[in-house]
């Protein structure tokens, strides 16, 4: 019954990639989560009852931000290299992405260390601490997840099991990584420019 309908079978029938659709959905959901944290940050901006204030303690993380933004380019090169089946270039670009991401994460760790030890700002100190650590921490946790996945891809690439047919999967991962970078644009603007 199901195959009885007589229409030409040779028409092409192409549907969107489920990996890309799934990742787009995840990104939508994650964006909503970030939006709620951003709203909380802006809503409580300047409402702390005690110090320190953002202006006193925050410095612009320019270098590490540039590193993170550049990693969007390297992951893009990694996918196109894999598409060309250039294994060496793929591994190199993936390694560069992991390195740049790790530098960013190191920068955040260093910043937090200084804030906690020298400026005595913790999540309990005031509303600024509450919203700052949760928003930046939420982003950093996404960076960590991305780095784990990228490192796995790097290991597979080095061991030779990442081949051209996996391009679409790497594209899904790249989409996630672009999202993590794009969120940083928002967080950077809100925390270090508007909120300061």
């Amino acid at each position: 019954m199901s195959d009885a309908a007589a229409i030409p079978q040779n028409e092409t029938w192409i549907l969107p990639s489920r990996g890309i659709v799934g990742m787009a959905c995840l990104i939508t959901a994650e964006s909503a989560i970030f939006l709620i944290f951003v709203v909380a940050y802006l809503y409580y901006s300047g409402k702390s009852l005690t110090g320190p204030s953002p202006r006193e303690v925050l410095e612009l993380p320019i270098f590490t931000s540039i590193c993170l933004f550049s990693s969007s380019a390297t992951i893009h090169f990694a996918t196109s290299a894999l598409h060309r089946a250039a294994r060496g270039a793929t591994s190199l670009c993936l390694a560069a992405t992991v390195l740049l991401g790790a530098i960013f994460l190191g920068g955040t760790a260093n910043e937090w260390y200084h804030l906690m030890v020298y400026d005595h700002l913790t999540i309990q100190t005031n509303l600024f601490g509450t919203t700052f650590y949760s928003l930046v921490g939420l982003h950093a946790s996404h960076v960590i997840v991305g780095l784990i996945l990228l490192s796995l891809a790097l290991v597979f690439s080095l061991s030779g099991s990442l081949t051209r047919e996996h391009t679409s999967r790497l594209e899904v991962l790249a989409l996630y990584w672009h999202f993590v970078d794009a969120v940083w644009i928002v967080v950077f603007t809100v925390v270090y420019i508007v909120g300061r």
Binding site: M1, S2, D3, A4, A5, I7, Q9, E11, W13, L15, P16, S17, R18, V21, G22, C25, L26, T28, A29, E30, A32, I33, F34, L35, I36, F37, A40, Y43, Y44, K47, S48, L49, I123, Q124, N126, L127, G129, T130, T131, Y133, S134, L138
Partner: protein, 557 residues
């Protein structure tokens, strides 16, 4: 048809070891089994949530009753609300979606079968975590206690000072986990609808059920996620000492209200859209007509999805917003009535002039139409801010949303059970019992919830564990409690029918209703692989085209 089954080498076809069956179900990634597990676990929690409601009704049957203590009453309404929304309505709707969507679009399975299993199990775990609070709520200090902060869990009730012990932590964690499961399943549904359709099924030919589930899933991303974010904040407040909702440190209790209702109101539409989806399938089949206004139905669903995102603060008229804020949310709330009205008129136009068969699914569908309309009308009343100032937090509100949830959602769900049970089990549900169920439930429903409007108008507040004798609320409360009992009896008839018909029901065959969508082209219950050969469709009603080659739908679409 798909009966050319390859002879599978079953070693022991009739009797398999119980552990093997259990292993099958626990490790399955088959969308049909996961769908059935969703439905089964929702039914289990439906009974639990129903017992909680009955206990509350016994407490309220007469003034100054001492059947329950205030603390237990608070726990019961908190657990009843949380259970019914997160562990009955959501899973049962996801269950039907899981079961039906791949079959309706001619696919082998969902887009991500393993994610599907993960989402189910994490939701199920969340439900059991919520009830574990009865044992673990007080931590090591003995006693135990369930959450008692209401299902909105307004700040500062959830702070460490007002919720010592772990009862609120169990609430937060279980809602957070069920949210993760919901987002996973919603993601799966969108990916399935967009990427797994069979050849020829363009979006314009996709069954309305799949369309509405897709819209609903899109809403899940932007409504459940804010709740997830707010729960993370609450956890940070409770465990790390942050100050999101801590008014002593400048935090805001109102922010929690906003975050909760940004989830809470669209959630109603998340629940109602699948229910509309059932109606879109059932009403045409039992009116023997194609659905009236397919594009308008799709547009109205998308419209509801968008408008419902901007109405949340109508739950907050009494907290004191600016008049501009009030006006905006009044108008936005009223505007939701427009696409909803379009849907109701489309269903009426579908029935109009049709050859209506009052089989059990259609009975419940007609009940749904009337009751959902009444529920919508009291919703329009409550959307008027001054009226809401008077009646907010009264039993009028309780009556309104139970009209939506029981009169609308539950009636439609019963219709869906009667309609698709033959597909899922291979057997028909008993019609005589179905009539008993319908009429008992209809009477019980109205005896319960119609008087509730009037005690609300008389000033009875919700969540009160008892009330004084001299207020005159006694007689109506007796009637309400009797109604609840009638509904319970009707539900028992339904459960008995489900079990009895599974063993003794008449064999259904693949297509007992002479329906038109793809799920009826495969045997009942469908084989694991769904379709023996990948189907191809040319119109919205592929089975109509097959049954009526002389007059196929393709000529008219």
């Amino acid at each position: 048809m798909a009966t050319q089954t390859a002879p599978l080498p079953l070693t022991e076809p009739s009797r398999r070891h119980a552990t093997a069956v259990l292993h099958d179900w626990i490790t399955t990634v088959d969308h049909k089994k996961i769908g059935l597990m969703y439905i089964g676990y929702a039914l289990l929690f439906l009974v639990i949530g129903g017992v909680e409601a009955l206990l509350m009704r016994i407490q309220l049957i007469r003034p100054e009753n001492h059947f329950l203590s205030p603390l237990v009453f608070n726990q019961l309404f908190t657990m009843h609300g949380t259970t019914m929304v997160f562990f009955v309505a959501m899973p049962v709707l996801f269950g039907f979606g899981n079961y039906l969507i791949p079959l309706m679009i001619g696919a082998r399975d969902m887009a991500f079968p393993r994610l599907n299993a993960f989402s189910f199990w994490i939701s199920a775990f969340a439900g059991f975590l919520l009830y574990f609070s009865y044992i673990g709520g007080s931590g090591l200090y003995g006693g135990g206690g369930a959450p008692d902060v209401g299902w909105w869990a307004y700040a500062p009730l959830t702070s460490k000072v007002f919720s010592p012990g772990h009862s609120s932590d169990y609430w937060t964690l279980s809602v957070l986990l069920s949210g993760i499961g919901s987002i996973g399943t919603a993601l799966n549904i969108v990916a399935t609808a967009l990427s797994m359709r069979c050849r020829g099924m363009t979006l314009y030919r996709m069954p309305l059920l799949v369309w509405l589930y897709t819209v609903m899933s899109g809403m899940v991303f932007v409504t459940i996620s804010p709740l997830t974010a707010a729960q993370i904040m609450l956890l940070l407040d409770r465990y790390l000492g942050s100050h999101f909702f801590d008014t002593q440190a400048g935090g805001s209790a109102v922010l929690w209200m906003h975050y909760f209702w940004i989830f809470g109101h669209p959630e109603v539409y998340v629940l109602i859209l699948p229910v509309f989806a059932f109606m879109n399938e059932i009403i045409p089949v039992f009116s023997r007509k194609a659905i009236f206004g397919y594009p308008a139905m799709v547009a109205a669903s998308v419209g509801i999805g968008f408008i419902s995102l901007s109405v949340w603060a109508h739950h907050m008229f009494t907290i004191g917003m600016t008049s501009a804020g009030n006006t905006f949310f009044v108008l936005a709330t009223m505007a939701v009535g427009v696409p909803t009205g379009i849907k109701i008129f489309n269903w009426l136009a579908t029935i109009w002039g049709g050859k209506v068969h009052f089989a059990p699914p259609m009975l419940f569908a007609v009940g749904f139409l009337f009751q959902f309309l009444a529920a919508g009308l009291t919703g329009i009343m409550l959307s008027v801010a001054p009226f809401d100032w008077q009646l907010n937090n009264s039993y009028f509100v309780v009556a309104h949303f139970h009209y939506v949830i029981v009169g609308g959602i539950l009636f439609s769900l019963f219709a869906a059970f009667y309609y698709w049970y033959p597909k899922m089990s291979g057997r028909m549900l008993n019609t005589k019992l179905a009539h008993w169920h319908f009429w008992l439930f209809l009477v019980g429903f109205h005896v319960t919830f119609d008087p509730m409007h009037f005690v609300g108008l008389d000033g009875m507040v919700r969540r009160t564990f008892t009330y004084p004798v001299d207020r005159g609320w006694g007689p109506l409360n007796v009637i309400i409690s009797i109604g609840a009992l009638i509904q319970a009896i009707a539900t028992l008839v339904f459960v008995y029918n489900l079990v009895h018909s599974y063993f003794k029901g008449a064999l259904a065959g693949p297509d007992p209703w002479d329906a038109w969508t793809l799920e009826w082209s495969v045997p009942s219950p469908p084989p694991t692989y769904n379709f023996a050969a990948a189907p191809t469709v040319e119109s919205r009603r592929p089975l109509w085209d097959l049954k009526h080659p002389e007059d196929p739908d393709t000529l008219y679409e």
